[in-house]
Amino acid sequence: MGRETTDRQDRGRANPRKVSGRVALFGGVYNNYLALAALLEDAPVRAGEIFCLGDVGAFGPHPDRSVEILRESGIPIVQGNYDRSVGLRRGDCTCGYTDPRDNHFAALSYAYTFRKTSERNKDFLAALPGEIRLLGPGGERILLCHGSPRRQNEFLWESLSPDPFLARLLDEARCDVLAVTHTGIPWKRRLPGGRLVVNVGAIGRPANDGRTDVWYAVLDLSGEKPDAAFLPLAYDHGRLAAEMRAEGIVEPFAETVETGWWTTCLEILPAKERARGKY
């Protein structure tokens, strides 16, 4: 279950790409090709390089559109659990939900995405690397992955990630900056000693904050210590909701797009994160 290290990961570790200045990080596209297009307008203005942390599919309409936009952009992509499942032609998304209600909705969007993703795009998703390693200007070891360094589908929630636990993950993964997505809610933590953990949120679905905007992160490597800022991204959410309905995607998903409140997959949320939402 993702505890194995792939050859590709080893290669990345041995020879990480150098980055400096500002680096845009986004994840959780979830088929939201309209937000992805908005990101490709916004992020180049704010950052020199752009990386995707995975989960191209789920939730939204027309999965091939997002994959093709990403492929053409040449943006490096870390493989998410969804990408792996779709790519390997697996029976479910392995999102890591444990509640039957969460899994009910997860299964609906997976079935849709799987059916509508072309064979060529499935192969593309299957070949994505499990992690990307970068080297900052001050020698900072930067690790980009989907869920956590140890598991593609591990949820790193702010209210369930104490400092000593994060420090252990960073020690085990030998990195100074860790960037993840998978939960869909952005947060960051500066650890004692200066290391940094960033959950970049998701651009595919609002962050359960009552706003229709979605979020991505810009990692700033120009200061004394790496830091991150979260940027809201507006897109034509009304059009997305209309296309979701036209595709027969279930109503609760479209409602989330229009209201900014999560309506499904709520059981996975820890108490603090769930208390902030409407449902």
Binding site: M1, R3, D92, T94, G96, Y97, T98, D99, P100, R101, N103, R151, N153, E154, F155, W157, E158, S159, L160, S161, P162, P164, F165, A167, R168, L169, D171, E267, I268, L269, P270, A271, K272, E273, R274, A275, Y279
Partner: protein
């Protein structure tokens, strides 16, 4: 047959048997046979828990879970929760019957001051008073629901856990529970079903596990060790460190005197391990468990 070994990957969840096996209820199915006045296992002191939190920090623990017995029989449970929340996310497994305005108010203020979540699990074994009280004791239904409503009023989101006695139970039972909780003022009902562990008092009712009910090496190979809580958790009690909360009153579950001694593989030789296999890491928090049902 040799039992397959579940490896230990590191301590993610530290369980603390804070109240020993002392409980104000005597539920018919209690897998560790907790009971009023039980002296089988003493409670842990606030100082002992503080030392454990230091060890948890060393180990890079993700969350701390308090269980018993009934944790709120511990005279310093509120202080212990405060100590914990300043450093870790915490979960308290309770029957909900001993919660008072003052206690919950104090816990709420600790939770608001922490960046970490405080979760409550409240046991309720049936959505009807008659059926629940037959298992959990007279008055437990009303008092548990009052406790849950009190938690809701202070901004908590208690998870109601119900033991599923029949595997073929009508799935609509979930809706019945949710409706009941909404009627009692719980705005965001969270319900989780747990399997029966045929141990402790339940062993006397249902006869325990047969010899064939064991995890085989092939079974472990098929689903992998991650689904077992024992791959990433340990339980500290006054009688030593145990492999999991279910085997806390079984000699076979004892892993040593200290946490350090318990960081090793565990042979899945107990009948209860087969229940865990079939139902996943049922004791884990939803937000951290990775098992697909």
């Amino acid at each position: 047959m040799t039992a397959p070994e579940c490896p230990f990957f590191g301590l993610d969840s530290l369980w603390i048997q804070v109240a020993g096996l002392s409980c104000n209820l005597r539920c018919a199915h209690c897998f560790n046979a907790s009971a009023p006045g039980s002296r089988e296992m003493r409670a842990l002191s606030r100082e002992e828990v503080k030392t454990l939190l230091d060890e948890a920090e060393e180990a890079g623990v993700r969350d701390v879970v308090f269980t018993g017995g009934e944790p709120f029989l511990h005279p310093e449970m509120a202080e212990i929760a405060e100590d914990t929340l300043s450093r870790f996310p915490a979960t308290i497994l309770t029957n909900g019957t001993l919660l008072t305005d003052r206690l919950v108010g104090r816990l709420a203020s600790a939770a608001r001051g922490s960046r970490y979540s405080l979760e409550f699990r409240i046991s309720l074994d049936a959505p009807s008073e008659e059926e629940n009280d037959r298992i959990r004791g007279k008055g437990s239904f009303q008092r548990a629901l009052e406790g849950a409503a009190l938690l809701d009023r202070e901004g908590f989101l208690p998870v109601v856990t119900a033991v599923r006695f029949r595997e073929d139970e009508d799935p609509r039972i979930l809706g019945v529970f949710e409706r009941l909780l909404r009627e009692r003022g719980i705005r965001k009902p969270r319900v989780k079903f747990l399997p029966v562990f045929r141990l402790g008092r339940e062993e006397g009712r249902s006869g325990g596990y047969g010899e064939g009910e064991r995890v085989t090496p092939e079974m472990l190979e098929l689903l992998g060790p991650d689904l077992f809580l024992c791959s990433s958790s340990r339980v500290v009690t006054a009688r030593g460190v145990f492999v999991c909360p279910v085997l806390v009153n079984e000699p076979a579950g004892r892993m040593g005197d200290t946490l350090a001694e318990s960081y090793r593989a565990f042979a899945l030789a107990h009948g209860a391990c087969s229940t865990c296999y079939r139902h996943g890491a049922v004791c884990a928090n939803a937000a951290t468990a990775i098992r697909e049902e």
